[in-house]
């Protein structure tokens, strides 16, 4: 553990720390952010009314729309002269959202990333290849500062130029790889083309995140890249990567609770759920100064567990995220996450890990087309052989999800590869 005192802190003491920090956060929001002052007053509540952690349930939510409406600096709780870094999310669905960090925030974030890297088997002696994008996206710089904080060697290669990534791994003896899981798979494919066997490399672990991925995909990555794969979670609004991380138990991601207060809520009613129940994940930041957030709705679906973990960390664990509420497809009334389809595909032996889902509406009926690349294992000179694969995939998905899909076999490499977040779903419906 990077910070055993905090990471394995007795839960009662941890809760005392959280309460103290919660009050301080709400106080700063109330005093410094007009948006929050108004929201709190509308609810007739002040930081002074917070006496227990449960009182968080009385606080107002913050949504992505609130961030957009207060673009760019409306939610900052300090004057811009105290902001030392700005990140922004891509504005693909409207205005971008902007986040600001004070120098203390950058310090805290670096420590959380150092803790995450250490949970993912890294230490001072490691060479860490950071293939997350550097720039406005928090992935690259988040990992970079964490790696330096830890004292390991950072290779700030950023995303893209896959052949160079592989050559660097070979030449520099990279031991820890950080990127999106879909990019890791693409690297495996590229290395294979280059005639490079991952078994000859020094990679021991990979820290993958920024998109939901299944346990089956983990098996595939671990097998193809010959490393131990860890899931890291975060979102730029709350901090960036390093909000939670898997430990060696790989049984949920520990949320760094000294910095974030987590809840799950019922997405429809907003009602807070008891621990263990699946719902939308909500975070209140506890020691963030540039842009503190109260009850930020992540739209990620998961459940929490405060059962003791064999690794010794006392912080609650969240289950791996199956998908965002806004990634969720409603197909003929059935809720479907792309990751569920991925799970089915990954457990069929011989299937290429690249897939795409095309959603369409024909005559008022939703249709999902699952495009799968034909691998050599699947291919046969007989049409019947190929049709049997189509039927197998179709029936596996149908028995798992309870919805019929159309399976389309595609030529190898015809599905676009991603060097960052993979585009898994193309929704052509006009909803």
């Amino acid at each position: 553990m990077y910070n055993p005192e905090i990471e394995s802190m007795d839960r009662d003491r941890l809760k005392d720390l959280q309460l103290e920090r919660l009050k301080d956060t709400v106080k700063r929001c109330e005093e410094m952010v007009p948006f929050y002052r108004q929201r709190l007053h509308e609810k007739g509540i002040s930081w002074k009314d917070i006496n227990s952690l449960e009182d968080v349930e009385n606080l107002p939510f913050t949504t992505k729309d609130d961030l957009r409406e207060n673009y760019p600096f409306g939610l900052f709780a300090v004057p811009t002269r105290e902001i030392v870094r700005i990140h922004a999310s891509s504005g693909t669905t409207g205005r971008p959202t902007v986040v600001g960090y004070t120098s203390t925030d950058i310090e805290v974030w670096a420590e959380l990333m150092a803790r995450s890297l250490m949970a993912g088997m890294a230490d001072k002696s490691d060479i860490v290849q950071i293939a997350y994008g550097y720039g406005l996206f928090t992935g690259g710089l988040g990992f970079h500062y964490g790696t330096e904080k830890l004292g390991a060697s950072a290779i700030p290669i950023s995303g893209g130029n896959t052949k160079r990534q592989i050559r660097m791994m070979v030449d520099l003896g990279t031991t820890v790889l950080c990127c999106t899981p879909s990019y890791a798979l693409y690297m495996a494919e590229t290395a294979d083309e280059m005639g490079i066997d991952f078994k000859q490399l020094k990679l021991k672990s990979g820290i993958f995140g920024a998109e939901p991925w299944s346990d089956r995909m983990r098996d595939k990555i671990e097998r193809l890249l010959n490393l131990s794969a860890f899931d890291v979670y975060g979102l730029s609004e709350v901090m960036g990567p390093g909000v939670s991380i898997e430990c060696e138990e790989k049984n949920g991601l520990h949320i760094f609770e000294d910095c974030f207060l987590a809840e799950t809520i019922n997405t429809e009613t907003g009602e807070s759920l008891p621990i263990g129940e699946q719902g939308e994940l909500v975070f209140t930041t506890l020691n963030k100064f540039g842009m503190p957030l109260i009850r930020y709705r992540t739209r990620d679906v998961t459940s929490l567990s405060d059962e003791p973990c064999a690794c010794g960390r006392t912080h609650v664990r969240m289950k791996r995220v199956r998908g965002r509420t806004d990634d969720m497809l409603i197909i003929r009334g059935v809720n479907v996450f792309p990751s569920q389809i991925e799970t089915v595909l990954m457990q069929i032996e011989g299937i290429s890990p690249h897939y795409q889902l095309i959603v369409d509406r024909e005559a008022g009926l939703d249709i999902i087309e699952v495009q799968v690349e034909v691998s050599e294992d699947m291919f046969s000179d007989r049409i019947r052989g190929l049709e049997e694969w189509q039927q197998l995939i179709q029936s596996e998905i149908e028995s798992y999800l309870g919805i019929g899909v159309k399976v389309l076999l595609a030529e190898p490499r015809s599905i676009t590869r991603s060097e960052g977040k993979a585009v898994r779903v193309i929704d052509n419906r006009e909803l």
Binding site: V374, F379, D381, I383, E387, L408, E411, S414
Partner: protein, 144 residues
């Protein structure tokens, strides 16, 4: 061994894909002896007899196609009415299931060549030989 090697290529039903395959083979100096396309509404499989199956396999694979080599039989038949049914007869009598077949004409003679795909190739060759047919050895077929 009188079995011959056929290569098969997976194609999406998109315009220009067959052209791509044939052009790639041409570029590599590979000559197509026979070709047959099987398709559904969504995809197709093109099956080819070429003068150098191994080279064709490697070349197309390098170009990113999904390729497979399969063992098939090439039988010489008279180019006359009823010729094909005479070939099929001994196989049916042996209760062998023909997956598919296609034919082409020999340039220099009045003969046709039938390419047959069955599961039990050796057994089929035996049955055809007993019935008096000649199975064309690979070197001869590729050089036709």
């Amino acid at each position: 061994m009188t079995t011959v090697r056929q290569i098969s290529v997976f194609l999406e039903n998109k315009s220009g894909r067959l052209l791509d395959v044939t052009r790639r083979l041409g570029e590599a100096g590979l000559n197509i002896r026979a070709l047959c396309v099987a398709d559904t509404s969504e995809f197709g499989v093109v099956r080819l007899i070429v003068d150098d199956p191994h080279k064709a396999h490697e070349h197309l694979k390098d170009q990113g196609f999904t390729v497979k080599e399969t063992v098939v039989i090439a039988v010489e038949v008279e180019d006359s009415p009823g010729g094909l049914s005479e070939v099929i007869k001994p196989l049916v009598e042996q209760e062998m299931n023909i997956e598919y077949l296609y034919c082409f004409l020999e340039k220099s003679q009045d003969k046709a060549v039938v390419i047959i795909r069955v599961e039990e190739a050796e057994q089929a060759i035996g049955a055809l030989n007993v019935a008096g047919f000649r199975c064309i050895p690979p070197e001869e077929l590729y050089a036709m």
